[in-house]
C-alpha cells in the first residue's frame, strides 16, 4: 500500500543542508496497522506529511497503492489525497467556522459528490463515532475527545484506504484517548491501512507493527540495541 525506497528529504538554506529523512525505507502492506515511533525531531511527522502527499521529497521513490507519486502534479496529488487518504491530526484541525456536518463534508465536496450521497456518508460517519446528535454543533462547543471523533468521522466519510494519524491522542486525557484508539482499531478491522505516528508506547503496542525512526532513518530496534535506551527514555518522557 505504501512503499518508500531510499527516500530522502533535505531542507536547504544558503549555508546548511538538513536531512529530515535519509535513505528512508518502509513498506506498509495493505490492511496493516503500523505505529511509527521515534524521538522529537527524528522525522516522524516529515515522513507522515510526505506519505500523505502534503510535501514533496528530495530523492528516492515513493509508491502509494502501486503509483509512483514523485512525478504527479498538484491536481493528481490532491485527487489521491482526497480519495485514498484520510488524516487524523493531534490538534484535530477542524475548521472553526464550520459546524460538525460541514466539517465532515469538506473532503466530500472536493470529490464532487452529490448532496444525497454526501448526507448519507456524513450521517453514517457521525453515527459510527457516536456524534449523530452533534451535527449542527460547532467545534468550540465540543470537548477535545468529541472534536477528535469528528476529525475521525471526517476521515471515515471519505472511505480512505490509508489512514494517517499524527499523535491522534496527544491532546486527550486517558479516557478520551482510549475511545479514540478503539475507533481507530475499529477502522482497521474494517480493512483500512493505518499508519500512526506516536510517542506513546502503549498506543504503539496496539499496532500490528512498530517502525522506529531515528535521525531520519528507519532502525530495527532488535538489531540496534543502542536505541533501546533512547526509545525507552523517550517513551518515559511522554508517558
Amino acid at each position: 500500500m505504501l512503499k518508500m525506497n531510499h527516500l530522502s528529504k533535505v531542507y536547504r538554506t544558503e549555508v546548511v543542508e538538513t536531512y529530515a529523512l535519509r535513505d528512508f525505507n518502509i513498506d506498509v502492506k495493505e490492511g496493516e496497522f503500523v505505529a511509527v515511533t521515534g524521538p522529537s525531531g527524528s522525522g516522524k511527522t516529515t515522513f507522515l506529511t510526505i506519505a500523505g502527499l502534503l510535501e514533496t521529497f528530495s530523492g528516492g521513490e515513493y509508491y502509494l497503492d502501486g503509483i509512483e507519486v514523485s512525478n504527479l502534479n498538484d491536481n493528481a496529488r490532491s485527487k489521491i489525497r482526497n480519495e485514498k487518504i484520510g488524516f487524523i491530526f493531534q490538534a484535530f484541525n477542524l475548521i472553526p467556522d464550520l459546524n460538525v456536518y460541514d466539517n465532515i463534508e469538506v473532503p466530500l465536496r472536493y470529490r464532487g459528490m452529490k448532496t444525497a450521497e454526501r448526507k448519507q456518508r456524513i450521517m453514517d460517519a457521525l453515527e459510527r463515532v457516536g456524534l449523530s446528535s452533534r451535527a449542527r454543533h460547532y467545534p468550540a462547543e465540543l470537548s477535545g475527545g468529541q472534536q477528535q471523533r469528528v476529525a475521525i468521522a471526517r476521515a471515515l466519510a471519505g472511505s480512505p484506504r490509508l489512514l494517517l494519524a499524527d499523535e491522534p491522542t496527544g491532546n486527550l486525557d486517558t479516557q478520551m484517548a482510549r475511545g479514540v484508539l478503539e475507533l481507530i482499531e475499529d477502522i482497521h478491522r474494517g480493512g483500512a491501512t493505518i499508519v500512526m505516528v506516536t510517542h506513546d508506547p502503549e498506543l504503539a503496542a496496539r499496532a500490528q507493527r512498530n517502525v522506529h525512526i531515528i535521525d531520519g532513518q528507519v532502525v530495527d530496534l532488535a538489531e540496534e540495541p543502542r536505541f533501546h535506551a533512547h526509545a525507552a527514555e523517550a517513551a518515559h518522557e511522554y508517558r
Binding site: T49, L54, D74, F87, A91, N93, I95, D97, Y110
Partner: protein, 440 residues
C-alpha cells in the same frame, strides 16, 4: 463547486465584518469616482447619431487667399463655396447651417419678447439628422427656394409660448418678421450638438460649449438670412468685411455644409467633386490653396475637433488613478485576510483541495466583495452624477446613468476586485499545507 465557494465566501465575509466593510468601501469609493467620470466621458464621447453617423460627411475647402497657408482648411466655409456645393446637389442629401441670435415673440400670446438662438438651415436638415417631430413637419426644398416665411420650433419653446399645445399654423414674430410655425420638435438633445461643432482645435480643450442645447427656432436658410440680416457672426475673415454682420459677399468663413453619402463610391465621388470645385475656383482666381480640401465623416470630424473637454478627460484619468489606489488597498486587505486563514487552507489542502480549488475559492470571495463594492459604487455614482448635474456646465442636463453604464459599474467592480484578488489568491493557493498543519 461555485455555489460551495459562494457559501464559504459569505461565511468568511460575515466572520470579520469590519474588514469586509473596509474592503467593500475601498472598492465602492474607487468605483463611484471612476464610474461618475466615466459616465460623463461616455455621454460626451458617444455617437450623437448611431446608425446614421457613418453616412454623414463634412466637406471643407480653403478659400483663404492670404499667406501663410494653413495645413488644414478652415473649419467652416465662406458663403459662396457653401451655397455652390449645396446647390450642385451632388450628395444624397445636403444642408447648409448657420445660427444667430434674435428677439422673438408670439403675437397672440401675452408674454414678453425673449432672446433666442435661431438655426437657419435647409429642408434636408430634418431627414438627414433624423430630427423627431411632435407636431407638423419640416419644410420642402421649394420653401427653401421661395424663402418661405416658415419655422420649426423646439419642444421647450412650444411649452413656453403655447403650453405644449399643437402650435402648427400659429404665428411667431422673429425680430420684425412674422413666420408660420410648420413643425414642433419632440425633445431633441444630440450630444454633442454635432452640426455646430467647429473650431475645437483652437479651444485648448475648453469644448464644453459643444454640448449646448439645440436652437429654439429653425428657419429656412435664406429666410433666416433675410430676417436676421446683420446679426451673423463670422468664424474667420481673411480681410476685414465691409459691413460686419452682412457676410454673404464678405471674405469670411461662417457657413457650415453637411452632406449625406450612402456608400463608399459616393464618398469617393464627392471627394473628387469637392477637389474639382476647389481647382475650378483656383482657375477663377478665387482660391489659392486648391489642394487643401477635406471630407471627414461625422465621427472623424468630432475627433478632429477634440469634442470631449480636456477637464473631463483629466478627471477620468484621476478617478481611475484613485481606483487603482483603492485596489492596492484591497490587495493588502485581501492578502492579510487570506494568509491569516493559512491553517484552514492547510486543512482543506490535506483533505483534497487542489491549489486551483483554493485559488478559485479565494477569487469567488474577492468577486463577492467586488459585487458588494459595485452596489456601493453604483449608489456613489448616482450621488456623483447628481453633483455633476448641479454644475454650471452646458452638458449638466445630459448626465444620467444609462443601462449600459449601470452594467459597466458592476462589471468594472467585479473585474477590479478579481484583479485585486489575483495575487492574494495565488499566495493563498501556494501555502504549504504541511507547514500549516505542523504549526497548528
Amino acid at each position: 463547486m461555485f455555489a460551495y465557494y459562494l457559501d464559504l465566501a459569505l461565511r468568511s465575509l460575515k466572520r470579520n465584518k469590519a474588514l469586509t466593510a473596509l474592503m467593500v468601501l475601498a472598492i465602492a469609493l474607487g468605483i463611484g469616482a471612476s464610474m461618475t467620470t466615466l459616465t460623463v466621458m461616455h455621454l460626451l464621447s458617444g455617437d450623437p447619431l448611431p446608425g446614421r453617423s457613418a453616412h454623414l460627411f463634412y466637406p471643407q475647402v480653403d478659400p483663404d487667399t492670404t499667406p501663410p497657408h494653413a495645413k488644414e482648411p478652415a473649419d467652416v466655409m465662406d458663403y459662396h463655396s457653401a451655397v455652390d456645393l449645396w446647390s450642385a446637389r451632388r450628395a444624397d442629401a445636403q444642408t447648409l447651417i448657420v445660427d444667430s441670435q434674435l428677439k422673438l415673440r408670439a403675437p397672440t400670446v401675452n408674454l414678453p419678447p425673449l432672446m433666442a438662438m435661431m438655426l437657419s438651415t435647409t429642408a434636408d436638415f430634418f431627414p438627414m439628422f433624423d430630427v423627431p417631430f411632435r407636431y407638423g413637419s419640416g419644410w420642402s426644398a421649394d420653401d427653401d427656394a421661395k424663402r418661405a416665411r416658415v419655422a420649426v420650433i423646439s419642444a421647450d419653446l412650444n411649452d413656453k409660448l403655447f403650453g405644449g399645445a399643437d402650435s402648427v399654423g400659429r404665428t411667431l414674430r422673429l425680430r420684425d418678421s412674422d413666420v408660420r410655425i410648420v413643425g414642433v420638435l419632440k425633445p431633441w438633445r444630440p450630444s454633442p450638438l454635432f452640426y455646430e461643432v467647429a473650431g475645437g482645435r483652437y479651444a485648448h480643450g475648453d469644448t464644453a460649449g459643444f454640448y449646448g442645447k439645440p436652437e429654439d427656432v429653425i428657419t429656412p436658410f435664406f429666410t433666416g438670412l433675410e430676417i436676421n440680416d446683420g446679426s451673423f457672426q463670422q468664424f474667420n475673415c481673411w480681410h476685414v468685411p465691409d459691413t460686419p454682420g452682412h457676410l454673404e459677399d464678405a471674405p469670411c468663413e461662417w457657413v457650415t455644409l453637411w452632406v449625406q453619402l450612402g456608400d463608399a463610391s459616393k464618398v469617393a465621388a464627392y471627394r473628387r467633386f469637392v477637389a474639382d470645385y476647389a481647382a475650378r475656383q483656383k482657375s477663377l482666381g478665387r482660391f489659392v490653396n486648391a489642394d487643401n480640401t477635406r471630407l471627414r465623416s461625422l465621427m472623424q470630424w468630432l475627433d478632429y475637433n477634440g469634442v470631449v473637454p480636456s477637464d473631463v478627460r483629466l478627471q477620468t484619468w484621476l478617478a481611475f488613478a484613485f481606483l487603482v489606489i483603492c485596489l492596492f488597498n484591497t490587495v493588502g486587505l485581501l492578502l492579510a485576510k487570506f494568509l491569516r486563514r493559512g491553517g484552514e487552507i492547510g486543512v482543506r489542502r490535506a483533505l483534497g483541495a487542489s491549489r486551483a480549488a483554493v485559488f478559485a475559492q479565494c477569487l469567488v470571495e474577492a468577486g463577492l466583495i467586488g459585487l458588494l463594492g459595485g452596489i456601493g459604487g453604483w449608489l456613489l455614482t448616482l450621488g456623483g452624477l447628481w453633483l455633476v448635474r448641479r454644475q454650471p456646465t452646458p452638458y449638466a442636463d445630459l448626465v444620467h446613468l444609462d443601462t449600459s453604464m449601470f452594467l459597466v459599474t458592476f462589471a468594472l467592480a467585479i473585474a477590479a476586485s478579481l484583479l485585486a484578488g489575483l495575487l492574494p489568491a495565488l499566495r493563498a493557493s501556494r501555502i504549504a499545507p504541511a507547514l500549516q498543519l505542523k504549526t497548528l
